[in-house]
C-alpha cells in the first residue's frame, strides 16, 4: 500500500502549569493556538478537520468517559469522529500516530491529534493515588512503588553499572531549566544551578526533587494534513518523516535490563525505516532537535543512549559535557522546550506538546530558544517506565 505524505500544518499548546481552568478551557486554548499557527487561515477552516484523537490518562477520574466528544463541542467540531487515546504518559504520542496513519492511508485528509490533563486540582492523597495507576498495579505498586521509585531503581542500577553520578543527573535538570526559562508556555521559567539541583530534598534515592518533573495542567493540539491540503494552508510545511511505536513489559522487574528502555530503540528504528522507504535515510547524526521524554532526569539519560546519541552508559557524562545544550555544535539540542522537567508534564498532553515544540523549531518561530538551522527533529514519548513508546521524525520542507 502506498503511504501518502503527511504534514503538520498547525500546532499549539496552552500554557502549562498550575491552572485554575478546566480541561475544556485548556484544550480550547491549545486548539486556538494550533489553528492560529496555520499560515493561510483563508485557505484552511476548522471544519476541514475530519476526525480527532485525544490523549488523556483521565487523571483524577474527571470525565473519564467520553471526554473527546465534550472537547470537540467546545472547539467547534461537534459531530466529528473523536475518541480518547490512553497509553499513560504516551497517550498523545499514540494519538498523533493514529491520526498520522489515518491521513497517510488516505482515509481522511485532515486530522486533529491532541491531549489534555488536569492534575493540580486534587488533594495530595488523591494525586498520589493517580500517579500510581500506570505502573504495574498488581505487583510493582504493591511493593510500595510509584514512578519516582521505579525510575530511582533504574537510576540506582545505571549508577552501579556505568558509574553515573548525581551530578550527571542534575546536569539534565540544569540544562532543561535553562531552556524552560526561555519558554513562555513552560511551567517553570527559571534557570537553576547545579548546586541548587543537588541540594534539593530526596524524593526516592538517588532522585531528588529536581530530578522529577512536576504535576501539570495543560493541553496541546496538532493539525495533520495531506500534501494537497498542506500546500494550500501553509508556506512552511513540517513533514512527518516516519512514525514508530512499541510496547514492552509493564513491570520494571520483568525487563531484562533496568538501564535501557528497549521500546525507545524499537520505535526509533521503525520511524527510520518508514522514512527510508520514502527515500530519506535518517540516522542519529541527522537529528538536530530531540524532544525526549524526561519525566525524570535519568529518563533523559536513558533516552539519549537508547536513541544512539551517545554510547550505552555514557548518557551522564555526555549530557554533563553540554553536548545536548542548544547550539552546542556537538550533538542534537535535547529538549529545547525545557522538556517535561521545566516545561511541565501534563501526562496526556505531553506527546503532542513535544510536537508543538518541534513544529515551532522547524519553522523558525521558537523565539529566544530557537535552535539554529534545525532541519530534522524527533519527538520521543514514553508511557510509564517504558511499557509504551512512540518516536516521530519530522523535517522542515521548503515549499
Amino acid at each position: 500500500m502506498t503511504r501518502r505524505r503527511v504534514y503538520v500544518i498547525g500546532a499549539g499548546q496552552s500554557r502549562f502549569g498550575d491552572r485554575p481552568e478546566g480541561p475544556k478551557a485548556l484544550f480550547r486554548e491549545a486548539f486556538e493556538a494550533a489553528l492560529g499557527s496555520v499560515d493561510h487561515p483563508e485557505d484552511f477552516v476548522r471544519t476541514q478537520i475530519e476526525e480527532a484523537w485525544i490523549g488523556s490518562l483521565g487523571f483524577g477520574g474527571q470525565q473519564l468517559g467520553n471526554p473527546a466528544a465534550l472537547l470537540m463541542e467546545h472547539v467547534g467540531l461537534r459531530g466529528i469522529s473523536a475518541r480518547r487515546v490512553e497509553n499513560a504518559c504516551a497517550s498523545s504520542g499514540f494519538a498523533f500516530r493514529d491520526a498520522y496513519r489515518a491521513v497517510a492511508s488516505g482515509a481522511i485528509d485532515v486530522a486533529l491529534a491532541g491531549g489534555v490533563e488536569k492534575m493540580n486540582d486534587l488533594s495530595p492523597d488523591h494525586r498520589r493515588y493517580w500517579l500510581g495507576v500506570s505502573g504495574d498495579t498488581e505487583w510493582e505498586r504493591l511493593a510500595g512503588l510509584t514512578f519516582p521509585g521505579v525510575y530511582a531503581l533504574m537510576a540506582d542500577r545505571h549508577m552501579h553499572e556505568y558509574g553515573t553520578t548525581k551530578e550527571h543527573l542534575a546536569a539534565v535538570a540544569v540544562k532543561n531549566h535553562a531552556n524552560g526559562a526561555l519558554n513562555d508556555k513552560a511551567q517553570f521559567q527559571k534557570a537553576i544551578d547545579l548546586e541548587r539541583a543537588l541540594a534539593a530534598p530526596t524524593v526516592c534515592d538517588p532522585l531528588g526533587l529536581f530530578d522529577c518533573c512536576s504535576t501539570t495542567d495543560g493541553a496541546s493540539a496538532v493539525i495533520l494534513a495531506s500534501e494537497e491540503v498542506a500546500k494550500r494552508a501553509t508556506d512552511r510545511p513540517v513533514r512527518v518523516l516516519g512514525s514508530g511505536a512499541a510496547t514492552d513489559h509493564l513491570a520494571i522487574h520483568d525487563r531484562p535490563s533496568l538501564t535501557a528502555i528497549p521500546a525507545t530503540g524499537k520505535a526509533f528504528a521503525e520511524a527510520c525505516r518508514e522514512s527510508e522507504r520514502d527515500g530519506r535515510t535518517i540516522t542519529t547524526d541527522d537529528i538536530d532537535i530531540a524532544e525526549v521524554h524526561d519525566c525524570f532526569t535519568i529518563a533523559e539519560i536513558l533516552a539519549v543512549e537508547d536513541l544512539g546519541f551517545c554510547a550505552k552508559g555514557k548518557g551522564g557524562p555526555y549530557t554533563a559535557s553540554g553536548a545536548t545544550a542548544r547550539d552546542s555544535g556537538d550533538g542534537p539540542a535535547v529538549n529545547p522546550s525545557g522538556g517535561l522537567k521545566a516545561k511541565g508534564h501534563p501526562l496526556g498532553a505531553t506527546g503532542t506538546g513535544q510536537i508543538v515544540e518541534v513544529f515551532q523549531q522547524l519553522r523558525g518561530t521558537a523565539g529566544e530558544r530557537q535552535v539554529r538551522d534545525a532541519e530534522v527533529a524527533l519527538a520521543h514519548n514514553v508511557g510509564g517506565s517504558g511499557a509504551t513508546c512512540t518516536v516521530h521524525l519530522f523535517a522542515r520542507e521548503v515549499a
Binding site: Y129, E140, G144, T146, D254
Partner: protein, 441 residues
Amino acid sequence: MADRPNSLQASAIVLGSRTVPVPELATHLAAIAPRGLTVKRSADIDEDTTTLAVAAIRRLMARTGLPAAGIGQLFLVGADGEDADTTIATALGRPDVPVSRFLSTPEAAVDALLVAFGSEPAGPTVLVAVSDGRDGDPVSAGAAAVALLIGPGSGIRLIREAHRRVARTEDLGTAMSEVVAGLGTEVEHVVVAERLPGDARAFRDASPNGAVTTAPIDRSGDLGVATPLVALLAGLRTVEEGERFDWLVPSLHTVIGARFEAKSTESCEDLDAALHGAASATDPGTALRVRDAWRSHGDQVAQGAFVSLQQYLHEAPARYRLEGQRCTSCGRILFPPREGCPDCPDARLVVEPLSGRGTVYARTTIARGGAPTEFAPQQEAVGTYPVAVVELEEGPRVAAQLTGSGAARLEIGSPVLAVFRLLYVQAGVARYGFKFTGAMD
C-alpha cells in the same frame, strides 16, 4: 491419669522485630515501668499476629524438617485477625489443614497445649501462640510467637495436670502450692509463668522447697498469650533429661499446673536464642505510631487502582509464599506468575515453588510523597521505606519492600530472603505478601 499419647518434640520462637525502650516509653505514657526491664520487643509496622505466627511455624518447620504436608492440625492462640486461619494455612501451603482457633488468652494457650497432648490427628499438631502487643499497653505487652510441635514419639511428656479457681480474697501463692500438691509427689523444679512480677515470689513464699524458675518476663516483658509457653520452654532448660518438673500458670481467676518429664531439649528453642536475634531500636513516639498506624484505616475505602480482594486471594500462593511457574518448553522459571511464557507463548506452565532466596538487583528509598496512597500510613508511622528489585536465585526478578533491622544497609548484590509480612490495610482488610530481609539478619 494415664500418659497422653503425644509429646512435645520441638519449638521455635520469633519475636517482634523492633525493640522499644521501656522506661522511656513509660515516661512518654506517664505510666509506671516494670522494674528492671529496659527494652521489650514490639511488632514492626508490617508485622501482626498473622505474620508472626507464620514466621514461627516456618521456623519450626525449618528447624525440624517437617514438611507442610506433614502437619496434622494447627492450633492457633492469639492469631485473632479476621481469616487468620485461612491466611496462615495458605501461607504454609496447606489451605486444607484443619485449624482450631482458641480464645486469645494465656489460659487458652495452656488449654490448647493440654488438648494437643491428648489429640490424635493424622499427623502432629503444630500449636502457635502469638501476641503482637499492638492493641495492648505497650509498656507491658510485647510481641512474640511460639510454635510447638506435638505428636507421637519420644519427647517431653505430659504426666499430669491440675487446675483450680482462685477467689478474689484468696492468696495466690497458697492456691499455686495447692495446685502443685495436686500434681503428686513434690518435684525439684517448678517453673512459674509469671504474668506480673512477684507471681513467682508469692509461690516461693507459700512453698519454700525446690528450685523455682520464673518465666523470663524480666528480660522480655509480658508476651501476652505467648507467656505461658515461653515460660514452659524456659523451664525445660533448667532440668536434666529424665527429670520431672512442674509448670504453673497463675492468673487472676485460675491457677493451672502441669507436670512434665524432660527429654533432650536440643530441638527446643527458648527465649534466650530469640532475644539474640536482630532487631531495630525504636523510639517511644515511633513505637506508638506503629501501634496506631492501621487503626484509622479500617474504614478507608479503596479508590480503584487496587487489586480486588477476590483476585488477591486467588493469587495468594504467589503472594504469600512465592509460588512461581516453570515453562514446560524452555524450562524458564517465571515469577510473578504470568499467563504465558514470554518466549514460548503456547507452552504449558506448571507450578514451581521458589526458595525465596535472592540478591538485591537495584534499590531505592521512598521518601514522603513518593508512596502510593495505601502506603501512606506506613510512611506516617516510620518515615521512609526501602524498595528493591530482587533477583531470585531461580532467575526471575521481582519488586518488593526491604524490611528488618538490616534493611537500610542492603545494597546491590546483598543476599536477601523473602519473609511474609503485612503490606497494608485497606477497607478494613489486611493485605499480606512478601518482603525481603537481609539473609544475614
